[in-house]
């Protein structure tokens, strides 16, 4: 199964996490990593499994590199039937009311475009003790098991 890791980031944590996940998975899978900034929703393909890794900024908003993708998704309304994805959010419980809003916004907009979400959203808390990778990797392995 081809896996495509797509990140929406402001300070680069999501990008680094994708690179780490790519490295961890590279033995058994074909994995590529791209910035959401460089991806258009209508280029998504049913052949791949998409994993969106996205942080939250401002007042519970999407990070800058996810904004164009989101705008295209909501304005051009492409039909994403057949596209399968999972979402992992990076956030910070310091912002408790809007904790991981960005990844929710993204997941909701993909579902609204008829894409199929596989499994629950994973989340990381930057104020917590754990590394994002140590939470995201087991989460991702469960999603991959469900997707294949």
């Amino acid at each position: 199964m081809k896996i495509s890791l797509l990140y929406g980031t402001e300070t680069g944590n999501a990008e680094l996490l994708c690179e780490e996940l790519q490295e961890a998975l590279s033995d058994g899978h074909e994995v590529d990593v791209a910035n959401l900034e460089d991806v258009s929703p209508d280029a998504l393909s049913a052949e791949a499994f998409y994993v969106f890794v996205c942080s939250t900024y401002g007042e519970g908003e999407l990070p800058s590199s996810a904004i164009d993708f989101f705008t295209a998704l909501t304005e051009e309304k492409p039909d994403l039937s057949g596209i399968r994805f999972a979402v992992f959010g990076l956030g910070d419980t310091t912002y408790d009311e809007t904790f991981n809003n960005g990844s929710t916004i993204l997941a909701d907009s993909l579902v609204a475009a008829n894409a199929q979400q596989i499994g629950p959203r994973g989340v990381h808390d930057a104020s917590g003790d754990e590394d994002a990778e140590s939470i995201a990797l087991p989460w991702l392995q469960e999603r991959l098991a469900e997707a294949s």
Partner: protein, 419 residues
């Protein structure tokens, strides 16, 4: 020929630059040189101690040194000061490319009249103290009961929040244990521009609502009615309408009031006088913290170096010499802005490296090792400090920072002896 790159300053801009350049020039030898024995600049020493999530960007930078082959050379100051290990010229002779990412650490003065008055402090010095920066080890400000904070950016709000918090509110932070300012009863934040031009982010205001016991007011001479859909003004209005049952501290916001001069009685500070359009406002206080920006510390001849107009745009000062981060752009902008800018500068440097004619090999980091040997600190020295600080964390804190240079160096030396 391997290109040798020295990035001076291990703050966010230097680290982002190393990250981006490492991806573009896999062959280059990249060394981050830092004045302090430990890395990360304002991510460790400026970002507020109760914003550990924001500080966690250092986990990303750690990967540079742990996995991505970037070198760290700590405890080496570059420049003209007597404590400097090397001048810029000497450094340039050892490396093909030098990037100055040394930030801007000097507090901007609120004006001549304020200088030399006891009780008036800069936010840089104060936030270094709260972050246990070694250069603040001897600094012991007296804030008294009433504090005026000058400025209306995010740093001013950081200062206000940290003064307002009680010991319990610091749970999970690395603010010095027992350091809460219980004696502070009244804090006035005063911005020179009208509220709708203030620079703080609305979340910074919303966060204040979580501190128990704060009575919030908007100064009488301050209008918040302009800009109905301004999120910052809405956040301020919301904050000022929610009042606690039991009041421990009072905070108030004033906008559109340039500070004119400090007021003194019997030689000690008694307040600040503000003036606009011939109208005056006096706020009595025991101390003033100015959070109105930063400037150059003069140790790298910044103004002469950046004279060429295009430097501000591209970051290139001369072939083989670049500026990045706050040193390049001035003291504005958050961590993400440094990332975007450093990525652009890295692309330019990569072009220069690719186009460089084959020449004599520069010695690079090997020369630093030969010349400075043991006095230089390594990334593993920092990892040791990191472990020691985390292990020493008292109840309710995530770490106890080592706050002075001799102790930091002694801890490093002890481990080296033990190895």
């Amino acid at each position: 020929m391997t290109a040798k790159v020295a990035i001076v300053g291990a703050g966010p801009s230097g680290c982002y630059l190393a990250q981006a350049l490492g991806k573009l020039c896999k062959e280059a030898e990249i060394t981050v040189i830092e004045k302090l024995p430990v890395p990360f600049g304002l991510a460790r020493y400026g970002v507020a101690p109760d914003h550990q999530g924001t500080k966690a960007v250092t986990r990303q930078f750690a990967k540079l040194f742990e996995k991505q082959g970037v070198g760290f050379a700590g405890n080496l100051e570059i420049g003209t000061s007597p404590s400097a290990a090397l001048s810029l010229e000497e450094l340039r002779a050892l490396f093909d490319v030098v990037v100055l990412a040394t930030g801007l650490s000097q507090d901007r003065s609120p004006g001549r009249d304020f200088e030399g008055t006891p009780g008036i402090y800069g936010s840089g010095a104060v936030t270094r103290l709260w972050n246990s920066h070694p250069e603040a080890a001897e600094f012991s400000p007296e804030f008294g009961a009433r504090v005026v904070v000058l400025g209306a950016g995010n740093v001013a709000i950081d200062v206000l929040r940290l003064l307002a918090k009680a010991e319990d509110d610091f749970a999970g932070s690395d603010f010095p244990a027992g350091g809460a300012y219980d004696q502070v009863r009244e804090i006035h934040l005063v911005g020179r521009s009208p509220a709708d031009q203030a620079k703080f982010d609305p979340v910074m205001i919303r966060e204040l609502a979580k501190i128990p016991g704060l009575a919030v007011s908007i100064g009488e001479g301050t209008a918040l009615n302009s800009g109905e859909d301004d999120k910052r003004l809405a956040a301020l209005r919301d904050l000022a309408t929610a009042q606690p049952d039991a009041i421990t501290k009072k905070i108030s916001f004033h906008f559109g009031w340039p500070a004119k001069k400090p007021l003194r009685s019997n030689g000690t500070l008694s307040g600040v006088l503000f003036e606009r359009d011939g109208e005056e406002m006096a706020l009595p206080c025991d101390s003033v913290i100015s959070a109105i920006g930063y400037e150059d510390d003069g140790k790298l001849n910044r103004s002469a170096l950046l004279d060429g107009a295009s430097t501000h745009e591209t970051g290139q000062i001369a072939p083989g010499l670049y500026a990045a981060g706050w040193f390049k752009r001035g003291p504005q902008g958050t961590i993400p802005e440094n990332r975007a800018d450093s990525q652009k500068i890295a692309a330019l440097i990569a072009e220069e490296i690719a186009a460089a004619p084959a020449g004599a090999e520069k010695p690079g980091v090997a020369a630093l090792q030969a010349q400075f040997g043991n006095r230089m600190t390594s990334y593993s020295d920092w990892q040791h400090i990191d472990d020691v600080e985390k292990a020493a964390a008292p109840e309710g804190r995530c770490r106890a920072k080592i706050s002075n240079l001799p102790e930091m160096l002694a801890v490093i030396e002890n481990r080296r002896q033990a190895l």
